[in-house]
């Protein structure tokens, strides 16, 4: 049962190590309900397609993993599609060449492959930090892309289908379903996986391990001199973040039943995953997930409206960096300037007059300054 605790004066509840205030509980429940009813809502509008949202959630989930590195160790990985692609291709290979039909087994294979890949790429790229780290991850990502493109066993640029067995489809609970039902069921599988993944990530970000990663991100030298073997910790974080990418990629393959190098391994996908984390708010847990849905949705809608849909994402990025550097979720969180102002007003309506006065004062000041400048320009004296 939830246990009642106190957080900065507001009552909060702690359950399975997750601590939420009442306000956060409302958002949490609404969010989960929303995720569950999306297949119902999606039918209402043409522009809102289940497959688009589903894809957004999957890439967003990879971004949640990437965010462990970005937020805590302050390392920017430019090659996270490598793990998404590894998960997707591992699923395809297992389905095609090993004839594995069970979705559960396919996903386990995706996780195993992504873990190994992240372990290897991690060892090789974590010798450096900053720009060189980013470039190395990019290089390894492109290397995998080239391999997928060049190997005929991996289908080259055509990619591979995931249609194992007589049912021509991966099996859920050992059963084949009609395509429509299959889409909905895999969607709910994704939702469950995402909820578990978010819970696990939440717990990691409350743990001593997070303190170690934060220490490394904020003051690397000192971290070494409090006794942290830095590379080992960053490597562990890198592998964990890679696993999230692998799970997302595996699910993607199971859902789409087809993988292509462009859709999974290309370096622009890495850029997308990074962009999602920043768009949604990389200082938050669920931000990257929401960033994922929003970005994929924008790209999809943009494609319908204009040929130059990349332009649209460019504009969104500009607005974001200049106007809302904390991302969607970060800007909505309490503590944002809008919320702060509103709560001031609610507590003490008389602040309106203070704001009015300070507005008038600042206008007066500006006018005086302007007049002074004018005088100097016209008469050359102060």
């Amino acid at each position: 049962m939830p246990e009642r605790v106190d957080r900065d004066g507001t009552p909060a509840y702690r359950f399975l190590g997750v601590e939420v205030t009442r306000r956060e509980t409302v958002f949490l429940v609404l969010g989960v309900v929303f995720l569950f009813v999306i297949p119902d809502i999606a039918g209402l509008s043409d522009s809102l397609q289940l497959s688009v949202i589903h894809q957004g959630l999957l890439f967003g989930f990879a971004a949640v993993g990437l965010n462990l590195l970005l937020r805590h160790t302050k390392l920017t990985s430019f090659g996270h599609a490598a793990f998404f692609g590894t998960g997707a291709y591992a699923t395809a290979v297992l389905a095609r060449y090993a004839g594995i039909q069970s979705v559960g087994l396919l996903l386990l294979g995706a996780i195993a492959a992504a873990t190994v890949m992240a372990a290897i790429i991690g060892v090789l790229s974590l010798r450096h930090t900053g720009l060189y780290f980013a470039l190395l991850t990019l290089a390894f990502g492109q290397l995998l892309y080239a391999i997928a493109l060049g190997q005929s066993a991996l289908g080259g640029s055509d990619g591979l289908p995931i249609r194992p067995g007589p049912a021509n489809q991966p099996l859920l609970f050992g059963t084949a379903f009609s395509p429509d039902v299959y889409q909905v069921l895999t969607y709910y599988l994704t939702v469950v996986v995402i909820l578990i993944g978010l819970f696990v990530m939440y717990r990691i970000t409350q743990s001593p391990f997070r303190n170690a990663l934060d220490a490394i991100g904020q003051e690397r030298t000192r971290a070494r001199f409090i006794g942290l073997p830095i590379r080992r910790y960053v490597w562990a974080a890198f592998v964990i973040s890679g696993i999230y990418g692998g799970v997302a990629g595996g699910l993607y393959a199971v859902v789409r039943q087809y993988v292509r190098p462009e859709g999974t391994l290309f370096f622009l996908r890495s850029g997308d995953i990074l962009f999602m984390a920043i768009l949604g708010g990389f200082r938050t847990l669920v931000g990257p997930l929401i960033g994922g849905v929003v970005l994929i949705f924008l790209q999809d809608v943009g494609q319908d409206i204009t040929q130059y849909y990349e332009f649209l994402t460019g504009v969104v990025l500009l607005i974001l960096v200049y106007g809302f550097p904390r991302g969607i979720v970060g800007s909505l969180r309490s503590g944002g300037i809008v919320n702060a102002r509103l709560s001031d007003l609610r507590r003490e309506p008389s602040v309106l007059s203070t704001w009015g006065r300070s507005a008038v004062q600042s206008i007066e000041r500006k006018v005086t300054e302007a007049l002074t400048s004018l005088r100097i320009i016209l008469f050359g004296v102060d």
Binding site: N211, Q218, E219, F225, I226, G227, P229
Partner: protein, 251 residues
Amino acid sequence: MLEARNLRKSFGELVATDDITLEFGKEAGELVFIVGPNGAGKTTFINLLTGFLSPDEGSIVLDGDDITGMSANGRVDAGIARSFQVVKVFEEMTVRENLRTVVLTEQGKTWSLFSMADGHEEVETKVEELVEKFRLEDTADTVAEELPHGDRKLLDVAMSFGLDPDYLLLDEPTSGVSTREKEYVIETIVEVGRAEGVTTVTIEHDMDIVTEYADRVVALHQGAVHGVGPPTMLETDDELRRLLLGVGDDE
């Protein structure tokens, strides 16, 4: 006992450490101060002892074991902690979180992925002790980057003590601190160091502080040991006075 044996380190033409042989902590808990003019190689010497740099020649021996090749974080585990001339703390964490991170690391808990960072009782007790000892109660929940300079220095030192070291090497713990706060910082270091039997080796420019608190003084000049002795050495050794102050008796 921590020993430097014939340590040498040069950067190109510059010989920063020139055949230094010294020992610290023959009596546990001694307060050693390293003095010397700018460029004497004081910081390089500490960097060599703590594994921030590795020597060209010579060895570092801790309680009879050669630790010359040991990693920096390995030496911390072995009981050698240090602070830096420029405060290096985790800027986005509060004072308490900084100390918690240090204590969690010291107690080997940072590999725990699913426990609560603030849920380890022994760690929390130790953190509160440190907050109290270094009189950081009022700023315990302030983010490090917003602390006044004196408190930042104290936090830095508190973090080093949080590692439960046997040897603590402090690189100018009072640099940039106002005269009034200087006394306070150094007194806290001496007090806690004595109470816990930590051998401290401190680089210090303020000769009043050295004279008042040192058990032993090491003077370095041009990378080599100029002299080792009691703090009265600062009064009696004219050449040392000339080196440190740039003045001699004839002026």
